[in-house]
Amino acid sequence: MRITRKPFATVLVVGALAVSLGACASGTTRPSTGSASPGSSTSGEITVFAAASLKTTFTQLAKDFEVQHPGTKVTLSFAGSSDLVTQITQGAPADVFASADTKNMSKLADQGLVDGTATNFATNVLEIAVPPANPASISSFADLAKSGVKVVTCASQVPCGAATEAAEKAAGTMLKPVSEESSVTDVLGKVTSGEADAGLVYVTDVKAAGDKVKGIPFPESEKAVNTYPIATVGTSKNKELAAAFIANVTSEAGKKVLRDAGFGTP
């Protein structure tokens, strides 16, 4: 016997499913209720997409910004720069993009998704990271090429790997890494866990790792400086607030936060 209410139940279930699927799909969208009174830069919400290496500094900068601009909300999303570019080109709702290299910013600009021009706001250089006990007694870049030294680097496809190649050229020393990782965090992980004798990471990573690793600066790193650009995303719905946030990053106070974390000024 057929119960007449069945079709209704079908509609109900399918409808609920569709709603929940829709909710999934829009999971990354910030609540657009944002109450942003357009034209006012002192309220509303923005989403900032920033390179993974900016996590600590940008978390601080966003907090400062919210305090200075009551009524605003800054949502942060951190990932590898190329991942973020992919996400933005696929329609992710970003208002500000801060990249760990100029290449990825150009990639976004080529898609017509950068509003105006990008501003360079920080630089970063490589440093040798070794376990605190420095088991392989590394003291220079050339030491990394000694036989038996387990050195881990970034793969040439990612920004820190490109910087590593530049440093190798500048030093005239070719490294034979035991592993070429796809992110600088993976390199650092191999050093902090003691698996590797040394790794090439950014000076800011060494600083952030505290006493878990020891940093050894090397002069050749000057030839491989990474520049960090920041820009308003073309599709931003709150460009004024985005510009205010960028101004905050490039202000004296912002520069100090970055400097304290080990970043250089461009």
Binding site: K6, A9, T10, V13, V14, L17, L21, G80, S82, T86, K150, V152, A155, Q157, V158, P177, V178, S179, E180, E181, S182, D186, G189, K190, S193, G194, E195, A196
Partner: protein
Amino acid sequence: MIKRSGYYGIPRWIYVIAAVGGLLMVLPLVAMLLRVNWPQFIPLITSDSSIAALGLSLRTSAASTVLCIVLGVPLALVLARGEFPGQRLLRSFVLLPLVLPPVVGGLALLYTFGRQGLLGKSLELAGIQIAFSTAAVVLAQTFVALPFLVVSLEGALRSAGSRYEAVAATLGARPTTVLRRVTLPLVLPGLASGAVLSFARSLGEFGATLTFAGSLEGITRTLPLEIYLQRETDADAAVALSLVLVVVAVAVVGLSYGRRRSSAPAEVQP
């Protein structure tokens, strides 16, 4: 297997939800197919780094499948037929990698076999270094793939029952002979499908390898790691390689499912 009772009354709305579920599985694959750069497909998947990654993946997956069989068959036997304290606990632990995020498995392996790990120090004294070697890849793959073999085989052992073994034993066969001549031939289809699933899981292993083994062309950079890296610069190459992995996985799973179906009637013959 279960006899069909002749009742096919699946409510119609179930079909609707099932269709949504099916789409959720199929649609992403279709979307990927649409993104493949077909004119460049062959050059992309035959580049030196792609070939090296594919070769390494196939070799390590084969090795870890063998390791899964060697270690998994006794484990499944003990779990299905044995009786000892802590049996249920052991089963939970064997199944754990199924639900554990692979990166957690990688960390656990690191703290076991790494240079500073539980066994790593002794291994290093013995002149064995596992970190950053192909052995580390095989170890990571075995860790995540073993449950698939154990689960399939344990299920096969339980549904096969032990009547034949009992007969063989009363006829004077020793336990090892019973195992070799009766039990293993009986559950061979289950073992085969378990091995195929382990192979497929090994082929797709990513997180534990990345955490534990590192990433170096020809040594530790398997196909999933190569895809992850290529994605940074060359999305076309990443998609092309992903398709290769999908095709291999579909073939492997299809093979296993086909076997199970064709072998099913044999299992119920009295």
